[in-house]
């Protein structure tokens, strides 16, 4: 079933790799995975407790592997993957809530992991994760695009189809809202 990729995975664009995957190349999917792993991992890391980040990331790529055959290319692959990631994160919290677990790892767990500066960062990370989850979708999304995926504002404008001024304005409002949530 597996065939050799016709193009160099490192240089081929996403569309070419998707075509090759649909023709039966796992290596093409592997190249997509290596290319987009950091973005997915960082996005998940921003909103999911650290002990579950790898599992949720794996879930995202498992789902991508399963449904990429039906991907029609109406949007960019990165946009599709972003939606899939958000869906998997939502699913993760739905399952957690069903098990009646706390929404985010307790602070005591963070402080028990390591002493000193790193512990303070972990506590802060948990506080930020909690606050992020309470933000409206559009605000959370723009913060994730800038901080988790490290996209420049111009790239965010291109990815979301908005103009640069609107992106910057939304970013400012999102940061103001995040600050308010952190102060609650």
């Amino acid at each position: 079933m597996e065939t050799l990729s016709k193009s160099e995975p490192g240089t081929a664009n996403d569309d070419t790799l998707i075509r090759e995957f649909k023709a039966g190349s796992f290596e093409a999917f592997n190249a997509l995975y290596r290319r987009h792993l950091a973005g997915v991992l960082n996005r998940v890391r921003f909103v999911v407790p650290s002990e579950d980040v790898e599992d949720v990331t794996q879930e995202v790529f498992m789902a991508a592997l399963k449904s990429l055959q039906s991907f029609r290319g109406e949007s960019q692959f990165s946009t599709w993957l972003r939606t899939l990631t958000n869906r998997k994160v939502a699913e993760y919290y739905r399952k957690r809530n069903r098990k009646q677990e706390a929404p985010v790892t307790s602070l005591s767990e963070a402080s028990s992991q390591k002493d000193g500066v790193q512990s303070v960062h972990l506590e802060d990370r948990l506080a930020i994760q909690n606050a992020m989850l309470k933000l409206p979708e559009s605000y959370r999304e723009i913060i994730l695009l800038r901080f988790a995926e490290d996209l420049q504002f111009v790239e965010i404008a291109r990815a979301t189809g908005n103009n640069l001024e609107a992106v910057k304005s939304t970013f400012r409002r999102a940061m103001t809202a995040l600050r308010a949530r952190l102060d609650e």
């Binding site: 079933m1 597996e2 796992f26 999917f29 592997n30 995975y33 290596r34 792993l37 950091a38 991992l41 960082n42 890391r45 921003f46 790898e54 990331t57 794996q58 790529f61 498992m62 592997l65 399963k66 960062h121 802060d124 990370r125 930020i128 913060i143 800038r146 901080f147 988790a148 490290d150 420049q152 504002f153 001024e165 910057k168 304005s169 970013f171 400012r172 940061m175 103001t176 995040l178 600050r179 952190l182």
Partner: protein
């Protein structure tokens, strides 16, 4: 009122730009201090940018995680490939014997098989015993009914179990 709105929006544009510029700089240079001379709102937002940078510093993808997920994806791909070649009955039973669903399907298949065999074994007795006493005929019919009810109960339990 309109003038006020215009004034507000023209005042807010530079803050949007300044915050965006500061964020870009903070992300690329990992700067650790806010801009001198920034107004209170901008300074608070810059502090938040730095806070996010500290809590979520740029990090390389852990190679062990990368390999682990990669090998799990490959395993899934291979099992999906094998599943595509399987006959329909094998697909229905499931590809992984370790999973709860496939064990339930196998148990269901066994129960159905047992009921069929039992029915085939007992049903001739109904006809051969027709000349015997009424009591023994009723007794055989009762056995068949009891087996059928029992099988029905087992199937109902398994169906409910599957739905959970």
């Amino acid at each position: 009122m309109n003038e006020m709105k215009t004034e507000q929006s023209s005042n807010s544009i530079p803050i949007d730009d300044q915050l965006a510029e500061f964020t870009d700089r903070a992300r690329s240079e990992q700067t650790g201090s806010t801009e001198p001379g920034a107004n209170a709102e901008l300074m608070q937002l810059e502090e938040l940018v730095l806070r996010l940078n500290k809590a979520f510093p740029r990090s390389e993808v852990d190679k062990i995680s990368l390999k682990r997920i990669q090998s799990n994806l490959r395993a899934k791909w291979q099992s999906a490939g094998q599943a595509a070649k399987l006959p329909a009955w094998r697909k229905w039973l499931g590809t992984g014997w370790g999973t709860r669903a496939s064990r339930q399907r196998l148990a269901l298949a066994l129960v159905i098989g047992m009921v069929v065999i039992l029915a085939l074994t007992i049903s001739p007795l109904l006809y051969t015993n027709q000349t015997d006493t009424t009591a023994s005929a009723i007794s055989t019919a009762q056995v068949v009914s009891a087996v059928a009810i029992l099988a029905g109960i087992i199937l109902a339990i398994m169906w409910l179990n599957n739905r959970r």
